[in-house]
Amino acid sequence: MTSSLLFNITTLLYLASMLAFFAFIANRAKAFGTAGSVIAFGGLLLQTIAIGLRWKESYILGAGHAPLANLYESVVFFSWTIVLIYGLLDLKYRYRVIGAFVMPFALLGMAWAQLGLNSGIEPLVPALQSNWLIYHVITCFLGYAAFAVACGISIMYLIRERHERSTPANDQSIVAIFPTSRVLDDLNYKSIMIGFPLLTLGIITGAVWANYAWGTYWSWDPKETWSLIVWFIYAAFLHARITRGWAGRRAAWLSIIGFAATIFCYLGVNLLLSGLHSYGG
């Protein structure tokens, strides 16, 4: 299948992009940073084509549906959204080095999908035969992706902030090419400002769909509850910024914990708990 080949190349490009960013941190040659970005954008373009192809292939196989219907397809889509959100941030703010902390998430997703997951195209079970599937999955994953980017930025924040406290103005340290902690704090907030509305919309579209399909918009199923847990954590993050004593490091930790909860909501619930959302199989 051609889409499968393109996904493999995408995975390699994300690997190359990550390595370029690591090289950028190590020797600070601008060319590496630029290369990292360009390769990431190339991978994103290729992956977009591959997702479109897979969509088309599913129609040829007679199982026609958007490629968002099983664990493999969702992991691939998650990687795509992470690179997309990172790409937007890169175009707007051009802090290249952030790629070193974000591309690993995208690479991890693609590598897991290509090496460890069943990539067969399956027909949709009745419960997923609804356009709400597309709205729900796209909004949720774009939200998750923004949180992934925020998590990467928060890790950078913690490293940078510690460095600023201990070694004032040491230009030789590799951390010196990180944006300042103030900038990172702001970028963290900006990413969550993208992620929070999308997650909220994702939860709402899920509720509308559940109401449409089962007659209850909320049934405290583990997946729903975990999405609410994630929502609470980021709501706490948003308020942390205006609460004395909570801004800065604690807010960065909330962002990291929020992403850990997001990953649990996405994977842990399917693999470890039981419920209505049976992507994991």
Partner: protein, 464 residues
């Protein structure tokens, strides 16, 4: 003495008020809610399955039950936390809203010295000309580039004030209100709505459903299942579960609600009650005769798919499996057959195949089992039943209104900014400053560009 009591009362009530207004309480509530919510995703909710109950000790079970862990999202302490969040929200809004309201409706239109000090980007341009001319030129630039300014004259100086999107300051309160609206919708739904289910056999008409709390509910109309069918993909995976349903009022089909297709993800709603395709099963009726070995004393009887009958010899029988063509299982034999399970009164049980086209095999079986009762299969009236979930929720539209309010509010709170610009014009000087409630970086850039444009319009020394 009275006065000191009243002051200490005041400080107590004030500290209670401050407690409920505090953002630290908000942080505490969010984090506690997040952590405690995990419990209900690990411990099964509702009626825990017996297999689960066997894995925990009786002490643990009693502990869980006393804390309401099996229905934790409706337990008193969870509801208490949600109430705390609501009170916190309301108190915080009451405290801050009047101030915000004043900012919106009675803006400060004159740049005083104290205001000037709070504006980080305040710039003074030295220029030529009298205040009246300068003010018009600045006003024109502001109008073209930003917003129409309000001009006040004060002590011979002109004050210009222009602003954009002041209402965006209310967005956060719309978000907070939306949380309360959603809570209200949920409460109305749980007070005045219900969830239930009903099984309807093909051809059967029902007018009552069973609620989740095991109460019979009269629908006020009737529902007939005309047909139920399952379609499969070529792989054998299920593709579609379909019920054909007719709504009846006083026994007569309702126009537009006759032969309605109900499938998963496409329910039927009538008079505020919605029916969702949820499960299905076999409800066939199977016909037999039972006689002694000589074929005398034959009786005819019927067994429904999901129940059992008592046979003339006192044993009971129920259907396990059926087929129209037994040759798929036993070559050389033909015709329909059923597999049944027979429990005799002494406690033994056996599985027997009863044939339609092979009475000799039925007799042979009876002989071998010295029971003497010969069963003969006479065919079936095949029927399915459809399982529908039933829901009535008069609060759901309030929840959707809350959700829309929340999305609009979040959008405005994050992406709209209240921007204000003040200008003070004296003879020969123009002082400009401004601030924004969001995206200060972007606003700073805008101010720099605005300043350049204003300078171009002012008579400068080197312009002459």
């Amino acid at each position: 003495m009275t006065s000191s009591t009243s002051t200490s009362n005041k400080t107590i009530s004030k500290s209670i008020w401050d407690f409920f207004c505090s953002l630290k309480l908000t942080m505490f509530t969010f984090i506690t809610l997040a952590v405690l919510s995990i419990i209900g995703t690990v411990i099964p909710q509702g009626t825990p399955p017996p297999e689960y109950l066997q894995t925990i000790s009786p002490a643990k079970l009693a502990f869980y039950q006393s804390l309401g862990f099996f229905n934790m999202y409706h337990s008193w302490w969870f509801i208490l936390l949600l109430s705390l969040l609501s009170i916190n929200l309301i108190a915080c809004s009451i405290k801050r809203l009047p101030h915000i309201w004043k900012t919106i409706t009675q803006p400060v239109m004159v740049m005083s010295d104290s205001l000037e000090k709070t504006l980080s980007n305040c710039t003074t341009i030295i220029t030529l000309g009298d205040a009246a001319t300068l003010k018009d030129r600045v006003a024109n630039v502001l109008k073209a580039e930003f917003a129409d300014p309000v001009i006040t004259e004060n002590d011979g100086a002109f004050h210009l004030f222009a602003q954009k999107s002041p209402w965006s300051r209310l967005a956060v309160y719309a978000v907070h209100l939306s949380v309360l609206v959603i809570f209200i919708g949920a409460i109305i739904g749980s007070l005045f709505g219900y969830k239930g289910f009903v099984n309807i056999i093909e051809g059967q008409t029902i007018s009552n459903v069973m609620s989740r709390s095991d109460k019979e509910i009269d629908l006020g109309f009737a529902l007939r299942c005309e047909q139920f069918s399952v379609a499969h993909y070529s792989t054998g995976a299920p593709k579609e579960f379909k019920s054909i349903i007719t709504v009846l009022e006083n026994g007569r089909p309702v126009p537009n609600y006759t032969n309605v297709r109900v499938i998963v993800n496409d329910p039927l709603t009538y008079k505020g009650i919605t029916f969702y395709q949820s499960s299905y099963g076999n409800a066939g009726e199977y016909f037999f005769t039972a006689s002694d070995l000589s074929g005398k004393d034959g009786v005819t009887f019927q067994v429904d798919r999901n129940s059992s009958v008592t046979l003339p010899d006192g044993s009971s029988m129920h259907i396990i499996e059926e087929t129209d063509d037994v040759s798929k299982f036993v070559p050389n034999l033909t015709g329909p057959a059923v597999q049944v399970e027979i429990h005799d009164p002494r406690g033994g049980s056996e599985k027997v195949i009863v044939y339609a086209n092979h009475p000799e095999l039925n007799i042979q079986h009876a002989k071998e089992h010295n029971g003497g009762l010969v069963l003969q299969y006479k065919g079936a009236n095949k029927k399915m039943y459809t399982g529908l979930q039933v829901a009535k929720d008069p609060g759901v539209w309030i929840v959707w209104v809350g959700c829309i309010l929340m999305m609009v509010g979040i959008y405005a709170a994050f992406f709209m900014s209240h921007r204000r610009i003040w200008v003070r014009v004296n003879n020969g000087t123009v002082t400009i400053g401004g601030n924004a409630s969001k995206n200060q970086g972007g606003f700073q850039l805008f101010m720099e560009q605005l300043l350049t444009k204003i300078k171009k319009q002012l008579p400068m020394e080197d312009n002459k």
